[in-house]
Amino acid sequence: MSMWRRPGRDDARTSPGGGRRRFVQWSLLGVFALMIARAFYLQIIDAPFLSREAGRQAVQMIQEQGHRGMILDRYGRPLAISTPVDSLWGNPQLLLKEPAAWPALAHAIGWTLGQFRRALHAQRHEQFMYLRRDADPRFAKKVLDLRIRGVASQREYRRYYPTGSADATVIGFTNIDDQGQDGIELAYNSWLSPRPGHATVIRDGLGEPIAVHYGHTRPQRGKNLVLTLDQRIQYLAYHALKKAVRYHGARSGSVIVLNPYTGSILALANVPSFNPNTRADLDSVYYRDRAVTDVIEPGSSLKPLTVALDLQTGRVTPHTLVNTSPGYYWVGPDKISDVADFGLIDVNHVIAESSNVGASKIALTTLTRRAMYANFRRLGLGHSTHSGLPGESPGFLAPPGTWEPIQKATLSFGYGISVTPMQLARAYTALANGGILEPISIVHHEKPVKGRRVFSRRVVLEMRRMLEMAASPVGTGATADIVNYRVAGKTGTAHIADATGYHRHEYVASFAGFAPATDPRLVAVVVIRDPTRHGYYGAQCAAPVFREVMTGALRILNIPPDNPETLMAQTAGARGTGHG
């Protein structure tokens, strides 16, 4: 090898510019050296930046979603489930280059070739177009199996609510990103939410994935949530309520069914409701869980609670007499009145006849303001039940220092206090279960939380008799009675109040009670807001709903009848005797 031999001596005569040749040769070698220096800079010194930039365009971290957890009722019936769907999409830039594949693709996704061509042409400057959203995974696989470049699918999950509008206001709904927006879906979003998996995707310059690497996190499905609801009772409650709201031309209504010994919610229905599967009419008018978000002045259905507090003091008994003549009396400038003059009646009849005069007179003599306030608070009135449902209102009970003289009187029959139907139902659990105020729960817990005693056993037994009487033909709530069962409960009818005062012709009809009266197993509260037709009293609007729901629920739960003597009981006609 002689390649590095030195050039011969220059001969100026025969070869002009020998020095120039060497100059050119060394200059070029110098340029080679510069190129190598440049390569060194790019590949060694600037390499971290450049390779990071290259990685940024080619390597992408993607999130892969998993299933959202199911929501189930207490027996495992599905209330909300997520099913996998595949959204097929195409890259128009790539598809335009493969016209040969169009007919097969158009056919597979159920378009005509003309439709497909027009759609593709309209999107020709884009890199993304949906071919089919939310498709059955088997359908998507068939399309993907055509192996057309520029067609890909995205796994998504769609939320289905098999029970539709019956549970909608409680369960709530999720948004397009699978995030809970209201109801249980919102309150337990993090429990239900799947943990997304992270994958690294390497794409070529046209955006087509070449390789997918799963790192440490594969997608993890969300946890299931078991509710205390009994779907059978829920259906019953919803449909009975819906029927009543329509019949009475009411604005809205709520039904709550509780287990008095655990405080768990067996049914919670609201009307109006919405269809969570179509996500149409998504307006808070429809999806509000009114049983916990909306407050009412309960009126007479609160009366049993004040009377129970009176009895609790020991200063009165069920047989203590009160003079309610002449059917009204004055507290300062304000008049308190009954619908009729009941004369001299005992406490039992104050409840049965729903006498405002009687209830307020007793309360005024037996309870101090402070005691009344403190006891209401102990019953959970005027503060949240912590049911865990979103948007729950605490209600409102003014501190005793601010009360007008009349207020102590009106409070005793349920005016001047704002409570949610849920608070009312919860307070009734104490009357039903022997005096213990149970915490409200919608989510099934293995070990129920212990409640606390608010009434003595004696008071509870006395109240049961009183409420049984109130729900019997003797009392205002006769329309709530159930064949073969003894029912205890109280009607309520109250004017609706807003910032401008009470509306003369707008009412809230309610019924709160439990059954069977001798061994209460279910507490139910029915609230009908602003009934406009076929009566407005609690006995006319709310009590029949109570009866329908309770009758069905007792039967569904196989609760033994406690009134065998009335096997041949008369069908109770609507007597329309209820009053505020």
Binding site: G17, Q25, A39, Q43, I44, D46, A54, A58, R149
Partner: protein
């Protein structure tokens, strides 16, 4: 191939220069492997099978080596005698390229002629023909090179005419190479330095003016000066190329493991093959390829040096070929690494491209011929 060439040579003349021959074969082999690596993905997608470019490159290389072995047989006197006519034929081809229906347009450039079996790029041939012609011109005008007209203006006029033809294609890369090679040869041929500088300076001025006039070229220059500012526009190709270098690092990602060839870097198997080499074989691979080209340069100049004593024409041709191959290599490297603005220019002997490989091999054949003639002369003298 080397064997055949050597056998032919053994009958009358000394053996071929093995250093140069091995160097060329090594470059062709690296080129073949890298063309396959750089093109397999795109070929599989576009052509349906990944070896499309590999097979075509194989054919190109075989044809080129056969051409090389023929060229080795052609005496330098023949080239010297026929070079003016060959140059005219070459210019004719450059004109034909521009004629519609005869010339073939690809991506807006009319650079090709169809010759039954494939496309031919006349500008590639013209580079070598110019070298062969200029060497003869320098020998003929030896005594009058100091005059401005004969020294430099005749050649400048020739270059301007061809330059217009190349601008019409357009093929700026070839044009730059032509000017650089021509002036390099004139410089080495002994043209007066003052004349030389006057023309070179005005030439550079004209290039700058042309750049500013043409938006197409201006945007390329801007993309070259600030590639990452226009990573999605004019700087795209360069940015992708730079990323390939960065990804390569010292030792490279390994053969076949380039990411940039996956539709990120356009022309990965042709003009930007060097970037793929950098990515897969690393700085070490870049160093080795640069070394192989430097060997051609040094060897060509050594051969020219040796030839000078008995045949000045051969010496000029050897110088011209050394200049041509190394300038093409350097400009391609510079473009790949963002030192020079983007030009459509192949990496000689390595890039995919029939005409370029064929002409480069023919040039190497001429170089080998000169070396053999020189040594035969030396042997006969001694």
């Amino acid at each position: 191939m080397a064997e055949i060439a050597a056998q032919i040579g053994r009958r009358h003349l000394p053996a071929l220069d093995k250093t140069l021959l091995y160097d060329v074969v090594l470059l062709l082999a690296i080129g073949l492997v890298m063309v396959y690596s750089a093109s397999a993905f795109v070929a599989a997608h576009r052509m349906g099978y990944d070896s499309y470019y590999l097979l075509h490159d194989c054919v190109n290389i075989v044809v080129s080596l056969i051409t090389l072995s023929f060229v080795v047989q052609i005496p330098m006197r023949t080239w010297q005698r026929w070079s003016p006519y060959l140059l005219l034929a070459g210019m004719g081809a450059l004109v034909l390229v521009l004629v519609p229906h005869i010339g073939v347009r690809v991506n807006g450039s009319a650079r090709w002629l169809t010759l039954g079996v494939g496309h031919v790029q006349p500008s590639e041939f013209f580079k070598l023909l110019l070298v062969l012609y200029l060497a003869g011109y320098l020998v003929r005008r030896q005594d009058r090179l100091s005059e401005f007209t004969y020294g430099i203006m005749t050649v400048a006029f020739l270059l301007m005419v061809t330059g217009v033809l190349l601008l019409l294609e357009p093929d700026m890369g070839s044009e730059v190479i032509l000017w650089a090679v021509a002036f390099g040869m004139l410089f080495m041929g002994g043209v007066r330095l003052t004349h030389f500088l006057a023309v070179v300076v005005s030439g550079i001025g004209a290039a700058v003016a042309l750049t500013l006039v043409s938006h197409y070229r201006e945007s390329r220059i801007v993309g070259f000066l600030h590639p990452f500012a226009q990573a999605r526009g004019d700087g795209y190709q360069l940015v992708q190329s730079l990323m390939a270098f960065g990804r390569g690092g010292l030792w490279g990602r390994g053969l076949g493991r380039s990411l940039q060839k996956l539709y990120y870097l356009p022309a990965a198997h042709t003009d930007f093959l060097f970037a793929i080499i950098a990515e897969e074989l690393g700085f070490v691979g870049v160093l080795f390829v640069a070394f192989l080209f430097a060997v051609i340069l040094v060897r060509a100049f050594q051969i020219a040096e040796a030839a000078r004593r008995h045949d000045l024409y051969s010496a000029y041709v050897a110088n011209g070929i050394g200049l041509l191959i190394s300038l093409e290599a350097l400009i391609n490297m510079g473009v790949n690494m963002g030192v020079l603005p983007t030009k459509g220019l192949a990496l000689p002997l390595l890039s995919y491209g029939g005409s370029s490989t064929l002409v480069s091999c023919a040039a190497m054949g001429i170089l080998l011929r000169i070396d053999r003639e020189t040594r035969a002369q030396g042997a006969s003298r001694s």
